[in-house]
Assembly symmetry: C2
Homo-oligomer: 465 residues x 2
């Protein structure tokens, strides 16, 4: 068939799109971080029906500015301090572009061997880079796979753990701290777990392992089947760190699956000075970290490791006739189809490969350390000011603070910062207490942006007393 857009037109429009992205990323700080639109406002700019006839690509591309941009929350602005970052980088964008151009499906090794083998190689690189156990390499009994999100990775672990428990689902129990991410509860609910027990935390919001052991004992006595526990290294609330080794010892004693959610903090482990936070990984069955949060690789790129790939594959492998092939039958290859729920998969390792090579390990370490240093600096400024209280340790690059004048003052400060358009922070709560989360991790965030955020906090905060 004749292509609708000729190769020459694709080049022309493609070069313009690259330039549009270059301009956008260079000047992302010129936009108010939060858009000022009401529900329905963007949609009202779009016709109710698809066009019957082709539209010129120039007009379509122009709608990025005219229709889309007014409704964009600027995650790529250096003034974005909300949630956790979802950062990206030029080499990641180009890796993703190459993957879109190649358009392969990597469901089996045989359906595009390079898609599987580059992923094997890059995820094995990361085992060394993050100081993970050697066994987790695809050359050993374990291995890594790229999933879409930490929710998918954790859900996969929950399903394997449920199967291993061998009890009716409604009696199967998952455990996580009361500070764990909502994906544990959601994944367990989706996997049909009978119960998710939240375990109390200590003064720095880390899980209390003796409370875990007590909860398990209580559940066993009630005839339930404890199956899964999640240690979080870097909680979403305050980047608290659960004691991985102590939880692992409980899990080992009890024979339950031990999963580590390091979705955010995993990226920091490329710097050896943070690795004590994940001490005890030899007592872990699975681990998730998201390079799409803080390792310069755009979504989706959630890396899921297992210490032993057999129970994973046994749970997820189904081989219909149209997927049979000699390579699979030889046992010499990895078929990633058996490592997650979806069958089809993009060549997602390309962007990670591009990023790791383009920055080099040293480049990524420098970038992580810069953000951690900036967070420490902001923490020190807040701690020195009587108007503010830092409410949890700044362990990585998230600063959690509240106004000392009370909850109302904290709420009003967060609202004022976000209404300014100059920065975006998250207004969250610990129990009923409001606090402000400042996550420093956007690719282009530097000292000047954090200084400006401090000025904003300083000028907008109500006086005390």
């Amino acid at each position: 068939m004749t292509e609708h857009m000729s190769p020459e037109e694709f080049r022309r429009h493609g070069h313009r799109m690259i330039d549009w992205i270059a301009d956008y990323l260079e000047h992302a700080d010129r936009h108010p971080v939060l858009p000022r639109v009401e529900p329905g406002e963007i949609r009202a700019r779009i016709p109710d029906r698809a066009p019957e006839q082709p539209e010129p690509f120039e007009r379509i591309a122009a709608d990025l500015d005219e229709v889309v941009m007014p409704g964009i929350t600027h995650w790529q602005s250096p003034n974005f301090f909300a949630f956790f970052p979802a950062n990206t980088s030029p080499p990641a964008i180009l890796g993703d572009l190459a993957a879109a151009g190649l358009g392969v499906q990597g469901m089996l090794w045989a359906t595009s061997p390079a898609c599987t083998e580059v992923e094997n190689a890059v995820l094995d690189w990361l085992v060394d880079l993050l100081g993970l156990p050697e066994d987790w390499k695809t050359t050993g009994p374990g291995g890594g796979v790229i999933q879409m999100s930490a929710s998918d990775s954790t859900h996969t672990a929950l399903v394997v753990a449920r199967e291993r428990a061998g009890a009716p689902a409604e009696r199967v129990v998952a455990y996580a701290s009361e500070q764990a991410h909502s994906s544990i509860e959601k994944g367990a609910r989706v996997a049909g777990y009978g119960r998710v027990r939240t375990i109390p935390v200590d003064g720095v919001y880390a899980m209390r392992p003796e409370a875990l052991a007590a909860a398990i004992a209580e559940d066993r006595a009630a005839g339930l089947a404890p199956a899964f526990v999640c240690s979080t290294v870097g909680t979403t609330g305050t980047t608290a760190v659960d004691p991985v080794r102590a939880i692992g010892e409980v899990a080992r004693t009890e024979g339950i699956w031990h999963h580590v959610d390091a979705a955010y903090a995993g990226s920091a482990m490329i710097c050896p000075e943070f690795r004590h936070h994940q001490d005890g990984l030899e007592l872990v069955d699975s681990y998730v970290f998201n390079p799409h949060k803080w390792m310069l690789t755009n979504f989706d790129s959630s890396v899921f490791y297992v210490a032993d790939r057999r129970p994973l594959i046994e749970t997820l492998s189904i081989l219909p006739p149209y997927l049979r092939n000699a390579a699979t039958e030889s046992g010499a290859v990895i078929d990633y189809r058996d490592w997650h729920l979806p069958l089809g998969r993009r060549f997602r390792s390309l962007k990670l490969w591009f990023v790791l090579r383009s920055y080099g390990a040293e480049g990524i370490r420098a970038y992580i350390r810069e953000h951690v240093g900036l967070a420490a600096g902001l923490d020190a400024r807040l701690a020195a000011d009587p108007r503010f209280e830092v409410i949890a340790p700044t362990t990585f690059a998230l600063v959690s603070f509240a106004h000392t004048a009370g909850d109302g003052a904290t709420d009003r400060l967060a609202a004022a910062i976000n209404a300014s358009g100059e920065a975006y922070v998250t207004a969250s709560r610990l129990g009923e207490r409001p606090f402000i989360r400042v996550a420093i991790g956007q690719t282009r965030t530097g000292r000047e942006h954090v200084d400006r955020l401090w000025d904003l906090i300083d000028s907008l905060a109500e006086p005390v007393g």
Copy 2:
């Protein structure tokens, strides 16, 4: 922070990457469709450890040709006739590129309103374009959402159906024809279903609704809880079409969830002449089709519709404090986080929006009809030749045939075609009988490619008698 790759460098490397893709897609037919590599061969070209220092981007990009390309199965070659297509198009690639550049997370309306509202608008367009029930629009009680793959969409439906059944998971039963896709069995296993019953098919491989009714009755008598049935419109084996209305009537009577898997054939419904194959959609609870198969939109783009969004949201909604916001609380917006398992999500509707506008509905219809016409032509040639038997109706653009000299001759023919490098077909089986699947649907596949495939079949097939 200073960017590692400057905006000017990004432009330069980006323009080159666009040109590399333009060259690749223009000449994808020059590569043997199947790569000739042994397991481990690609990986052996990659160092065992990540580089400590940055590598120049030129060297990284050069490895696309030197390391990656020898291990690529060319899904974008016009001579790719295997599996189902995973096609793409220039506007889709540029839409995906724009999404990577914007780098937003659309988990909530509030985290980037345009990401949600463009998706709402485009999926509502598709309701009209495919002749789906008006109720399935987001402006009505239902709505659509983009998921990663049909496996994810179907799994989501299975989970909602399991919850609705309100029985212990191990007693819950899903039903699908013996020709249904493996994602039903996998999804049900992942969702903890006690059983998946495969229902017999008729002479054209369509589910027998009376056999479904009998199976349900038998299961109820045995104390099980029938919860979910999947009608397939266009099976993976032979594009068989289950009787949606008759199955829907059984499902309605029995009060079980009725899901339609139109992953492949859904794209054809843009042409009104195919819509009789999905008659009965008012008796359907959920529906999946994959624009990333046959609608020029690169993976991932699986569209999942529900007739009523309430049970979906009730099953999947969990709202932790860091995600609370005024727009969500107002009820005036859609938060897609509650429509699937993952929390994070890319701006995937951009590429679909670009494709629908760039081709126009008429352009996509012409393209579907061209492939369907080419398949009919190949079917006629095979049917007229005593060496071949077309073993299932060519309903869309998949031709299923066998050699009349027996299974060995069929197996050898498939192997010879694939070993030639000139085309790639799937060697599959119906029961124990081998057959060859020719799926015509790659974006650039035209008459000349199907003519050449016929010449190849003609020259490689053994004589009869």
